[in-house]
Amino acid sequence: MTAIAAPATLALDVEDLSVEFVADRRWVRVVDGVSFSVRRGETLAVVGESGSGKSVTNLAVMGLINAPQGRITSGRVLLEGTDLRALERRALEDVRGNRIAMVFQEPMTSLNPAYRVGDQIAEVVRRHRGVSRSAARARAVEALDHVGIPQASSRARAYPHEFSGGMRQRVMIAMAIACEPAVLVADEPTTALDVTIQAQALDLLRQMRDDLGMALVFITHDLAVVADIADRVMVMYGGQAVETAEVHELFAHPRHPYTEGLMRSMPQVGLRGRRLASIPGQPPRPTALPPGCRFAPRCPYALPKCDVPPPLVDVVPGHATRCVRADELVLRGPR
């Protein structure tokens, strides 16, 4: 799987995380009891449509849910044994960017336009390492060089608008790895990039994970990317984890109808010219969730017993699904 043998301890261990936001003047649950874990050197892909709660889950892990619009109502976030939810704000700031870092979807808007990229990277180094200005600058150049920016020392003095989207995403990655974090959360890091650049960015993330022995949490809506980078996968729907499995197992034997739907709507080489399958209907709004299984209204296999909320249970060790018909259905992977 990876070059570095995964140590026994978990880099990130999230348990029963729930997040609520204010909508229509009341609290609405957008992430509901999500649990996952990831080891150093390992990649966990979090997959789902927009609004499935995958980004919010990871913003909550980072402690970036803003009061008063949002709040974490339950859960435990252990970063190498440290409970992040128990930390004071300032202690949490010491952890962010240092032991856990994040790369965002929009490289065009995620860098501060008013500062040189080298200074933006140096800032995080100075903040967490307490080194001199020049040492931080040198580390910034090193990080830019590491992520494959040519002429790193002169490019460090350029402003974000002088970089292309792909290069900006490299800068974001350089900023995230500058302090060699244990966990890197990448929120759709390739979605905004040109297709030709996407593969490069994926390779880079994989290389950084292996070079630094980081745990990588990779958020995406794109199953093709998942197959490329992930070791394990968590599929989210309506704010819940609906299926978790090792990546080959998931593609070979999906055990949730939603996962099957996602896989069957993937474009496939060799099936050109045929209509892509799509999942009918829309994902549920958090303000109007179905009472039972949240996927039931769109599910081709739904039965009356799906009106009761299904639990997430292991069908085989290491493969869990939130479907009461998991044992009776024979689902297919990509066509």
Binding site: E93, F104, A114
Partner: protein, 314 residues
Amino acid sequence: MILLLGRRLLLMVPILLVVSFLVFGLVVAVPGDPAITLAGDNATPERIAEIRGQLGLDDPLAQQYGRWVGGVVQGDLGASLFSGRPVATSIAERMPVTIGLATLSMIVALLISIPAGIIAATKRGRWPDRVATFLASAGLAMPSFFLGLVLVLVFSLQLGWLPATGYVPFEVDPVLWLKHMILPAITLGAAAAAETTRQLRSSLSDVLQQDYIRTARAKGTRAGSVIVHHALKNAAVPVVTVLGFQVAFLLGGSVIVEQIFALPGLGGLAIRAVIDRDIPVIQGVVVFAAVLVMVVNLAVDLLYGWLNPKIRTA
């Protein structure tokens, strides 16, 4: 940056030309004849004609304009029709008062508006924001002559902390200078503070929604530093624009405030000149104010370049 400076300086030339036309046009447009005013009551037509000749008022307009602009370019703004003193000298004497007042007002405005704008933007919709927004509206709505009188009533007459009127030059006694200037500066700066607070509140709350602020927080940047270091520099662009306008308003407002507090500034000079129809003085003050506003705008443009690196290369 040098290129930016050069381009902006070049742009000032046509503006100065237009200003000079307008200012010179005063002579033509203002009803009444300065020669008649100057000659006094019961002057004979011969006497008036003689004065007209002395002032060159019978020459063709183009010639008069050429003579005036030629002087202005060399720093000669002419002489007062009444005292005969060079206008440039009068302005130079009174300029420190007005510039000092305007500068101090601007400082007052910034001291109030930066913290108030930050508080309002970060506590948006909560009570600190409501208080700041209310005070900003009140500051805008309050005419300066009223605010000035209230301040004098409270701090000079009731509490006796600060003098109500008068002026001490800075070079004579800086402390006394400040004591005399502080109430006028607050009076003049209140509206600018209010306007700047409103602008800062809206641009800062906008910037705080941006992705790069989330990035800064994800880096572990301290909450205070996120605002001061990452947000404020980006939020400053529209605020600096407003501040540039404010300087023009401050110069206008100083005419009133200088009267309330009996400060011997340009405002007093201008009012006297208007009452006397002392055209050269009026022209001089207007030219001076126009140049001052243009210099401030130039500074604003250069600030843009520093605040927003994109402008520099554009």
